[in-house]
């Protein structure tokens, strides 16, 4: 086997091949630019993916019940889940709810005289209806 250790130490080549430095530098810069472009593209794709993932997480989660409901939603249920009042409701009751809410709104906004005036008007309308 000989002395491999010493042989290994002698196993060095002094490289004396010719290198076209200009060509090497040109190729190097092309590769560096290409690398930078690829890196930018990678970052962009990563950021875009991250935004998509975050967006997906931030969206309200639909429960299975909601999903089933939407899947089985029929026209007949529109009235049931709508916030609009039913056509068949008592008109006097509807009017009174409306008046009460309006009075509250005017009162809360500090328009006391307007509130009182409004009450008078309501009383007048009621009297006329009677």
């Amino acid at each position: 086997m000989g002395d491999l250790k010493n042989e290994l130490k002698k196993y060095h080549i002094n490289y004396d091949g010719e290198v076209n430095e200009e060509k090497f530098i040109d190729t190097l810069h092309n590769k560096i630019n290409e690398n930078k472009k690829n890196r930018t593209l990678k970052y962009s794709v990563s950021i875009f993916s991250l935004i998509l993932i975050l967006f997906n997480f931030m969206r309200p989660i639909e429960t299975q019940e909601e999903k089933n409901h939407l899947r089985n939603f029929t026209d007949t249920e529109i009235g049931k889940y709508s916030e609009f009042l039913n056509y068949e409701s008592d008109s006097l009751l509807v009017d009174s709810i409306y008046f009460q809410e309006l009075v509250e709104t005017i009162f809360v906004s500090g328009e006391i005289w307007e509130t009182l005036e409004f009450f008078d008007e309501v009383n007048l309308i009621k009297e006329e209806q009677l």
Binding site: K5, L8, V19
Partner: protein
């Protein structure tokens, strides 16, 4: 003594690409030589040297001179060579490259195919041993400097080389 490498790197960090080119030219032949010792192929050595200088272009911006530039360069060379060894191992497994028939070690040591065989064997060594062999054989560094490059002490570098040689004997048998 003026540290030319340091000056060139500082200028490069300020955006002067000409300084980077000058740094590349200064270390080009040694870097190609390092890989030529391992691959015995000029084209492949130049490609590997390109990889090294692409890495340097990216990382030298953050280089803060805690070690000598040449030490840093040896480390980048070693890492690039390690990647090459891994890639080459797969290439051999997939028979993309012609594998050389093994002959009598003593008589054929000086021939080029034995060199190839030797480096194939080096590629099979554990990482630390492989690194010591690369620096000792391809770069002809003294143990003290090998220890400095690898972040180990002088004695440990010597022990790694001793184990590497024993392992190589086993692989080349």
């Amino acid at each position: 003594m003026i540290d030319i490498d340091k000056e060139l790197i500082i200028k490069f960090q300020k955006g002067d690409m000409k300084s980077y080119n000058a740094l590349v030219i200064r270390h080009l032949k040694n870097t190609i030589g390092f890989f030529y010792n391992i691959t015995s192929n000029q084209m492949e050595s130049e490609d590997l040297a390109q990889d090294v200088f692409i890495k340097l272009n990216k990382h030298l911006m953050k280089f803060n001179f805690q070690s000598k530039f040449t030490t840093y360069l040896y480390r980048v060379n070693m890492n690039t060579a390690n990647t090459w060894f891994k890639r080459n191992r797969w290439r051999n497994i997939l028979h993309l490259d012609q594998t050389v028939e093994k002959g009598e070690y003593d008589t054929l040591l000086e021939t080029s195919w034995t060199r190839k065989e030797l480096w194939n064997a080096v590629g099979k060594l554990p990482l630390k041993q492989r690194q010591v062999v690369m620096l000792r054989v391809a770069e002809e560094l003294p143990y003290k400097e090998i220890g400095y490059v690898m972040g180990i002490n002088f004695g440990t570098a010597k022990v790694h080389f001793h184990h590497a040689v024993n392992n190589l004997k086993g692989i080349l048998k």
